[in-house]
Amino acid sequence: MAAKNHRQWTAEPKLQPSEWVDSRVYSDVEIFEEEQEKIFKRTWIPVCHESELPNAYDFRTTSIAREPIIMCRGPDNEVRAFLNVCPHRGMIIERRPAGSFLEGQPSGNPKRMTCMFHAWQYDMRGNCVYISREKEGFQDRLCKEEVGLRRLRCEVKFGGFVWVNLDDNPQVSLEDWAGPAFACLRKSLEAEPLEVFHYHKAIVNSNYKLWHDTNCEFYHDFMHYHNRVTGFNDAYFARKNEAFEHGHVVVGTFEVNYEKYEGFESRAALSFPHLPPNQWYMIDLFPGMNFNLRGSALRCDIVTPLAPDKVMIEFRGLGLKSDTAQDRQTRVNHHNSIWGPFGRNLHEDLLGVQGQGTTMLPGSEPRRILHGRHENQTIHDENGMRHYYAEWGRWMNRRPSRPEEPFSEAVSVAAE
């Protein structure tokens, strides 16, 4: 058909309803707010890696669904998470992205989390241990034992990542939630301690799910010259997209021919433990986290949705803690030549998702976004996105193809 008029353009495609989504899922303000409450406040989010707080009293701050969060390592070596909020007057307690509480602060003592505003102090377990002029102000009506921090579910798992859940009673344990999806890489990620060597972030005007879609489908490799020349062969097109419970997807591996991109080298010499040479696995976790192991370097993307049309993506690169300086530098080069802020692929991915965001702003005309490719659940099949949006529909009780209607299991999985 030639170019379409408005009626034709907005008509539903001749595909199953599970094979497209309505673009309002990427742009509607009400849906975005609902996602914060129904999804991000109730699921496991990897917030950092344990190597970012290696010593007792180290801390790291983050946020989930607009709630500021602090993770700290106690003298007992446990990593705990709390709302980064003083129970007194709601001041954010720690303003820095990371640091050590071994240093004293202008308002407080070493080994304490101190709210600078009125000098209330907390230990690494979240207990309030000091209220300035406590008796003078509160007499016997309120004491420090009654005003501890809000503790959060926190676990260190799957290669040393720190996971937080704002829900005190998660629907499933972290192990049950992500364990099966991590099975393909668990031996490699847990053979020895990992260490973060790279961090940067991007804030792009696009919906967070569009970034996750990009990570869930490899059909867009046509955008990447690097992936075409190092990948497109029979083994590449045989890679499987495997769906796991809870909306996760794992993209199976094949051997990448890095030497086919001029100036690049094989990564075989620095493969992660138990990983054959130059293999490439990708784990996409609902609702928007990605673990991507290209032989010698692990990348982790964490999304923080900021608005329907705005997302912050944090990018981390990891190697083995035992790396020599030379091996580490080689791993860094492998990681950043493709995935760094000046790498060959990441810039292209971000241009792609930004371009989608440009056409799907709040108030833009709703249109159909197609997820309808079927190729025996291999690399260019879009089953990963279909699987994701079925899960999204369950959490939101909305049909991705008609978000004003309640979710229907029969409609959403019909195409599979």
């Binding site: 992205p97 940067h200 010259y225 100036g263 000046f342």
Partner: protein, 160 residues
């Protein structure tokens, strides 16, 4: 010639070459042993990071393959100020520290109808350069661009 003037002129000339995306012209200012790095300190992970590292051959390959890649064509404009130049006693080597601010002059990166023509701050940092001086010419031996940014949004395919 004054070695300080040679170094200063090379830094400023290279700024113009990079702004014009004259990669070949810029590489002609670089010695065969040239090494290039973009680095940043991350308070988030408490580590010094190398965002890009290439030797001269690596740079040659990188610029040769640029036309094969989809890219943001928004031109980058560098404002460079040479702060210090130190020339060694024999006058054959030098080090220089320059401040650099890079603006992105929007073209096609987001929505050209809205953004094209606008200039945005892209990054701030310092060039830490070393030079070989011979035959009345200063050539880059190394350039470390040390940036303050860890938020780089879409990033860039180009040498900075």
């Amino acid at each position: 010639m004054d070695p300080y003037a040679l170094v200063r002129d090379t830094i400023y000339r290279s700024t113009l070459l990079l702004d014009r995306q004259d990669w070949t012209g810029w590489l002609a200012e670089c010695d065969d042993a040239f090494q290039y790095a973009i680095r940043a300190w991350s308070p988030e992970i408490n580590k010094d990071m190398t965002y890009l590292w290439l030797d001269r051959n690596g740079l040659v390959n990188l610029v040769k393959l640029l036309p094969k890649h989809n890219t943001d064509h928004s031109p980058l404009t560098r404002h460079t100020s040479v702060y210090t130049i130190d020339v060694d006693e024999n006058g054959q080597n030098a080090k220089a520290v320059s401040s650099v601010i890079v603006y992105q002059n929007m073209l096609d990166g987001i929505n050209s109808h809205i953004d094209a023509g606008e200039s945005r701050l892209f990054l701030v940092g310092k060039y830490n350069d070393t030079f070989k001086i011979e035959d009345d010419r200063a050539r880059f031996l190394s350039r470390e661009l040390r940036i303050e940014n860890r938020r780089l949004d879409k990033g860039s395919h180009w040498p900075i």
